[in-house]
């Protein structure tokens, strides 16, 4: 058996070496991910998206700010009247100038259509109009799933034998993905209750038990507490994971729909998840006017 074992070891090492060779991007069918000591695909690392989905998961043109004052309706014949302006940043955001603008971006939604029920589409539009007051990101609330994946902060996948952690930078949120049997969630939650399994080289995560307080983006896309997300993390090269999220919520949508985007490995020196303890950053915004005094301004609240 010794000789046989030696051959097996050699095969394993050769497989290891060939797995390291760069392969073309998006060759998901041919790429074989390296294995962990447990023999499953190794997704460990610091990852991040490079897209504008957190602004709007659907296709969107550039615009001057997240909250805008729409241009007034035009009057007169173009070319025969004085110039008018287009949309303006909301007053509170105007000093940010070009920093506060929204870059254009392609849709991460399959077919670019979110199948809202009619009432829900109306609510989405209302959410967008009241973004500054309503987006939970502004208050440093946990972002939910899948939004946590495509916020402009890195995430780290930490793989153990029966557990996969995803450590997100924003708001210091961590998800525990249970690969073994686990009881039911005791209550709805912001980040949901995650059960994972391997389907070939893909980590499939069923996420349930959400509350209705998170959004999908800064464009007001939302869900209810009936949300059920199925995530798929598929290694497609040493430096890329393909991420898919299937969204099902019969209270809000007419059918399931899907998002898809790559995650890129952060391999810059010292890539790691830092603290973004944003509670500290929003206390004055949320509570400044509620106390006897606002220590930021010295104002005495009446």
């Amino acid at each position: 058996m010794r000789a046989g074992s030696r051959v097996a070891v050699t095969v394993a090492l050769v497989a290891a070496l060939s797995a390291c060779a760069p392969s073309g991007a998006s060759q998901s069918t041919s790429y074989v991910a390296p294995r962990t000591a447990d023999g499953v695909p190794d997704l460990n690392g610091v990852w991040q998206t490079l897209n504008t989905a957190n602004y709007d998961i659907q296709a969107h043109p550039a615009r001057p700010a997240l909250a805008i004052i729409p241009a007034t309706p035009r009057t007169g014949t173009p070319g025969l009247v004085r110039a008018t302006h287009t949309d303006l940043p909301a007053l509170a955001l105007r000093p940010l100038g070009a920093v506060g603008g929204v870059p254009a971006g392609a849709s991460v939604v399959e077919g670019d259509e979110i199948p809202y029920q009619p009432w829900a589409l109306a609510k989405k539009k209302e959410n967008a109009e009241h973004w500054l007051e309503r987006d939970p990101e502004i208050k440093c609330f946990m972002p939910g799933v899948p939004r946590a994946t495509y916020m402009p902060y890195p995430l780290q996948i930490l793989q153990s034998t029966n557990t996969v952690l995803i450590a997100y930078e924003f708001a210091g949120t961590t998800r525990t993905i249970h690969l073994d049997t686990v009881g039911n969630s005791p209550s709805p939650s912001w980040m949901g209750w995650s059960r994972g399994r391997w389907e070939g080289d893909t980590l499939v995560v069923e996420v349930t038990d959400f509350n209705e307080d998170t959004w999908f983006d800064r464009a007001g896309n939302f869900h209810s507490d009936a949300l059920h997300v199925v995530e798929r993390y598929t290694p497609v090269s040493p430096y890329h994971l393909m991420y898919e999220a299937t969204i099902e919520d019969p209270k809000v949508f007419t059918r399931p729909w899907k998002m898809r985007m790559p995650l890129y490995r952060r391999f810059d020196a010292d890539a790691q998840i830092r603290e973004y303890k944003c509670v500290e950053f929003v206390e004055q915004l949320m509570y400044g006017q509620l106390g006897v005094i606002d220590p930021a301004t010295g104002a005495v609240n009446k």
Binding site: S5, A19, A37, G45, S160, G172, D213, V279, L290, G291
Partner: protein, 347 residues
């Protein structure tokens, strides 16, 4: 190379698998030599994984009544065991808001303590020990506060649960849903003192339920960085089966109100922690705290931490998201201020 035994083949196979993650991110540190009964992870590191909680009754500081004594007599241990059983029964009956490391109802300035009691973790009787303090150094078992820090601790103690609460900066860091500090993270937390340790090649991650505090500790030998954080910049290494974590580069947050000022971070804080499994269900957790901003000398505490059953979970701690207490506290502060003003006007 002559392969001398099946053991050598097995370890080579492990090494082959270990090499795989090296294609992308930095590889993990080499596994320490297997020398004890400490369980191992699939990649050969000592396995500290599971949900852990301090369930001891040993106070951090030695109570004054025990003065220079590091141990209790057998009779005293028996008395404490009796007391602990009684208190646990009261807690379970909802008559006692006290939990590990916090005040009892009798000591609490909050009348009734019902609200806090609701949140706290009523549990089994705590484990009584003959030790009189978790602090083993200095030998008197007391925190070696500087004179200014001693005054600050007295002020913090008098303010906690009392106020005044005139703005969002007046509650302590825990009431603001920030943290209670890294020094007590592994063994404090009356509302969620559970810690889940998860290991992956090259990292140990600790999740503390309360405030969802999280530390991702690299083991690859990297030096400390230069970015200050609330929980500092932690680097870990194995010394035999003991995990040693050295943390520096803390943010200075001594300007905030801390329920216990010995947990506050400053730029001069250095924390060294040792995690060592001493039996199947016990970890000896040792902290050495060095911070001239708060203490006259380094101090060390040795804390026995219990492993909870394998089905124990860490649940989501959405403190800030549900911090209804903050607006209510501030509303109370304004009501108090208005009442005080009207009394002044109507003598």
């Amino acid at each position: 190379m002559a392969i001398r035994s099946g053991v050598a083949i097995a370890s080579l196979a492990v090494a082959g698998f270990m090499a795989l993650p090296a294609c992308g991110p930095p590889s993990s540190t080499s596994a320490s030599s297997a020398s004890s009964t400490t369980p191992r992870t699939a990649w050969g590191h000592p396995d500290l994984q599971g949900v852990w909680r301090y369930e001891g009754a040993i106070p951090l500081e030695r109570p004054e009544q025990f003065a220079e004594r590091a141990s209790l007599t057998e009779k005293e241990v028996a008395e404490r065991q009796q007391l602990e059983q009684e208190q646990a029964a009261k807690r379970l009956a909802g008559q006692e808001g006290a939990a590990v490391g916090r005040r009892s109802v009798a000591e609490s300035p909050i009348r009734g303590n019902e609200y806090n009691s609701f949140w706290q973790d009523h549990g089994r009787p705590r484990q009584v020990s003959s030790r009189t303090s978790l602090i083993t150094d200095p030998p008197d078992g007391r925190l070696p506060f500087t004179a200014d820090a001693r005054k600050a601790e007295a002020r913090a103690s008098a303010r906690y649960g009392v106020g005044p609460f005139e703005s969002y900066l007046d509650p302590d860091t825990g009431e603001r849903c920030l943290t209670d500090g890294v020094t007590g993270m592994m063994w404090q937390g009356p509302n969620g003192g559970h810690n889940r340790i998860v290991q992956s090649p090259g990292y140990v991650t600790i999740m503390h339920e309360e405030y969802r505090d999280r530390r991702v500790i690299p083991l690859d030998g990297r030096p400390h960085g230069n970015i200050r954080q609330w929980f500092g910049d932690a680097v870990g290494r194995w010394e035999g089966d003991t995990l040693v974590v050295d943390t520096t580069n803390f943010l200075d947050r001594t300007n905030y109100e801390w329920a216990n000022i010995w947990t506050r971070p400053s730029e001069s804080l250095r924390l060294v922690e040792r995690f060592k499994r001493i039996d199947a269900n016990t970890m000896e957790y040792t902290i050495t705290v060095e911070d001239p901003t708060t203490f006259t000398r380094p101090w060390t505490a040795v804390i026995p931490i219990s492993k909870l059953s394998n089905d124990t979970q860490i649940y989501e701690y959405a403190c800030h998201e549900g911090n209804y207490a903050m607006p209510n506290l501030l509303r109370g502060g304004r009501t108090d201020a208005a009442r005080a003003a009207s009394k002044v006007r109507r003598p």
